[in-house]
Amino acid sequence: MNELVLQHYLAVGGILFVIGLIGFMTRRNLIVMFLCTELMFQGCALNLIAFGAYHGNLGGQVFTIMVLVIAAAEASLALGLVVLLFRHKHTLDANAWRELKG
């Protein structure tokens, strides 16, 4: 069978990213939108790891760990915010907060 090459990893990473992007642009639920951003993160992380393996160094993995750590920190913050927003309006609809446009 065909061996797994760089292009395959990149394709999976790209697909993950695009799924996340489309999800972000089409859904209005704050938590789903947040999950979609996580998906985009993972697509990027997969790309980094694939390039790292391809070049035979650890740079990609180092960056990926960084991304994961930041994503974790950001997730805790973002979910906290979402909870706060929900308490205000009892809805998770992003459009409920349109008046914030200024």
Binding site: M25, R28, A94, N95, R98
Partner: protein, 688 residues
């Protein structure tokens, strides 16, 4: 010459400046009544130093046996830009020391008088601060060793004049007069500044004598050198420089057609009129032409212009003074007229006579102004000679002082004005008969209008105004409570309402000193030409004379007999003028009052001051105002419109963007971001 006098000469301007700062900033509130002390000390020191300098210069000059005497005292480089290096330095020669003594000596007497005159005024400290600033500027003007220092002082005295004319700034007339004086002077100073620039362009320096007299490094020596040694540009520049410098002199010294500010300047307090607008500042133009004689003398047209304008101004001032009723206005026009005499003197190459008249005029005109200040004080602010009469019993001391001043101004023999005026008339006659005749006629008018004033105000039946003038600045406390200023004259006028002492010692003593000067100053130059010989040792004079001789040949020696004949004619003219005034204004006043009706057109012409103010208003001020309005409209609608559009276009763009894209949908923002990234990527990679 003691060198320490020269080395420390910077104290002459400096101490009045320090005094001005102390008075202006510290002598407020409770300390206000002592505000004159810093100025007295500063100006008093300057006066003593000036007198010592004069003494040193006289002994040095007599030891030099007719050689030019001049010392350059450079202190530091004031500023430098390429070749344009200006030193803060002073130049001392007989002319400087004489001017310094006039400025600081008479200045000191007037500051003493002012302490009595201005007593109790709200702006007492402000007034003295300005006076100190004025002495600082004026001493820089006469001591400066280059034209830029002269210009510094020139503008400085202009500012002080503006501030002091507008001293009663709550009075609209004072504000207007201050602005008028400043603006009219700007016209002259514009030409003056151009003249200085042209001097630098043509000769590469604006220092009078550069490194020293005789080194040939200074402007006056280069310009006064042989014509063959000059480049064509320098020759051309010398055609223009005198006319440009002259403009400045005409403005500052109130010569026709820039004389209009001086009569209005009488809105200032009387000591200011005496110091700035009679004795010192207005003579700056005469000083400048005397100092820069070598720049003028090579240009016959310029000299003729100076003399002609001087003669026109002398006649104009004297004729207008005939129909003035305000004491100070009469003396203001008289000052204009006497300044005209000085200009004629410098214009006909008799700068010694001009400076001689400057000195004597400073004494008697300061005396006259201050005496009219005493009158104004006593008459509750009134200065109109129709409202007062026979004051010789009300103001017995002032009457004698005023009489001395009037006799000197009228040119009565043996008093100072006679000798100096006579020298000018003789020099003018020698140059051109018409000039001399105009001046003789002016001298007649002078005697007449001076004694018209004297006979009206001090002789005849007693008439004292009882209500204060509208703009009378009466201090709250009258002289009875004053700490100083109790003369011991009899209070022989107990019938009127105000029975306090009108003539406090602090005001009378300086006047007595001035009166002594007004009587005796003439003997500085008669019968021995002591002042003349002394001034002739000024390098400016010597070079001017040398250049004049090389250009026009040796002057014919004047006949002493002719000179004495002239003195006789002048004396007769003065006495005829006084007799006419006596006949028309004391013996039979109705005849004097009927005279204007008999010559109504002339009288109207003189009362309207030849309509010069109206002509300026109609042909200069109004057109300028219309240009101003047009510019305002252009600025408001065209320039401002353009600026507004520049601001409005981005605003409009932002407005459109805001309402089309910023709608609050998070997804919308995401799509926009994505599209923009796509466009950027396309630009980077797709169109590579």
């Amino acid at each position: 010459m003691e060198t320490f006098l020269l080395d420390w000469s910077i104290l002459i301007p400096l101490l009045p400046l320090v005094g001005a700062i102390v008075s202006g900033l510290l002598m407020t509130g409770q300390r206000k009544p002592a505000a004159h002390w810093p100025i007295w000390i500063g100006v008093g020191y300057a006066a003593v130093h000036s007198l010592l300098l004069l003494y040193g210069m006289i002994s040095h000059a007599s030891a030099a046996h007719g050689q030019a005497v001049g010392f350059v005292e450079p202190y530091w480089t004031w500023f430098a830009a390429g070749d344009f290096v200006i030193r803060w330095g002073y130049f001392f020669d007989p002319l400087t020391t004489v001017m310094l003594c006039v400025v600081c000596g008479i200045g000191f007497l007037i500051t003493v008088f002012a302490a009595g005159y201005m007593k109790g005024e709200a702006g007492y400290f402000r007034f003295f601060a300005y006076l100190g600033l004025f002495i600082f500027s004026m001493t820089n003007l006469v001591m400066g060793e280059n034209l830029i220092m002269l210009y510094l002082g020139w503008e400085g005295v202009g500012v002080c004049s503006y501030l002091l004319i507008g001293y009663y700034y709550e009075k609209p007339a004072a504000r207007e007069a201050a602005k008028k004086a400043f603006l009219v002077n700007r016209v002259g100073d514009f030409g003056f500044a151009l003249g200085i620039m042209l001097c630098f362009l043509a000769f590469g320096t604006v220092s009078y004598f550069g490194e020293g007299v005789g080194t040939g490094t200074g402007l006056l020596e280069i310009a006064g050198g042989a014509r063959e040694g000059l480049t064509p540009f320098q020759i051309t520049a010398l055609q223009w420089i005198p006319f440009l410098l002259m403009l400045g002199a005409f403005g500052k010294s109130a010569q026709f057609p820039l004389h209009v500010w001086l009569p209005d300047a009488m809105e200032g307090p009387t000591p200011v009129s005496a110091l700035i607008h009679a004795a010192t500042m207005v003579t700056a133009g005469v000083y400048m032409i005397a100092r820069c004689g070598t720049l003028f003398v090579g240009n016959e047209a310029a000299m003729t212009t100076v003399a002609t304008v001087g003669a026109i101004t002398a006649l104009l001032g004297a004729t207008i003074a005939l129909r003035q009723f305000d004491l100070k206005k009469v003396f203001a026009y008289s000052t204009i007229s006497q300044l005209g005499f000085m200009f004629v003197a410098v214009g006909v190459l008799a700068p010694v006579a001009g400076v001689f008249h400057l000195v004597t005029h400073a004494f008697f005109k300061a005396l006259l102004f201050l005496s009219s200040g005493v009158v104004m004080h006593a008459m509750l602010g009134h200065l109109d000679m129709r409202k007062m009469s026979g004051l010789k019993h009300v103001l017995p001391k002032t009457r004698w002082l005023m009489l001395i001043g009037c006799l000197a101004l009228a040119g009565v023999p043996l008093l100072s004005g006679f000798f100096s005026k006579d020298e000018i008339v003789a020099a003018a006659w020698h140059r051109h008969v018409a000039l001399g005749a105009v001046l003789l006629f002016t001298a007649f008018l002078t005697a007449y209008y001076t004694f018209r004033l004297y006979f009206r105000v001090f002789e005849g039946p007693q008439l004292v105004p009882t209500t204060p003038a509208e703009d009378h600045h009466a201090p709250a406390d009258d002289h009875a409570h004053s700490a100083h200023g109790h003369g011991h004259d009899d209070h022989g006028h107990g019938h009127d309402a105000h029975h306090h002492n009108h003539e406090p010692a602090i005001m009378i003593v300086p006047l007595v000193v001035l009166a002594i000067g007004a009587v005796l100053a003439g003997y500085l130059n008669f019968p021995v030409h002591a002042l003349g010989h002394f001034l002739d040792q000024s390098p400016s004079y010597q070079q001017t004379e040398a250049l004049a001789h090389s250009l026009y040949g040796e002057p014919e020696p004047t006949d002493p007999a002719a000179h004495y004949a002239f003195m006789g004619i002048s004396a007769a003219i003065a006495i005829v003028g006084i007799a006419l005034a006596y006949w028309l204004h004391l013996k039979d006043r109705r005849r004097g009052e009927a005279l204007p009706q008999k010559a109504a057109p002339i009288s109207r012409l003189l009362e309207a001051k030849y309509w010069i103010d109206e002509i300026y208003q109609g042909y200069i001020v109004e057109p300028l105002r219309w240009i101003g309005r047009a510019s305002f409209v252009f600025d408001r609608f065209v320039i401002d419109g353009l600026v507004w559009i520049v601001g409005f276009v981005p605003q409009l763009g932002a407005f459109v963007l805001k309402y089309t894209t910023q709608r609050g949908y998070l997804q919308g923002y995401a799509v926009t971001m994505l599209l923009c990234i796509a466009v950027i990527l396309l630009l980077i990679f797709g169109l590579w």
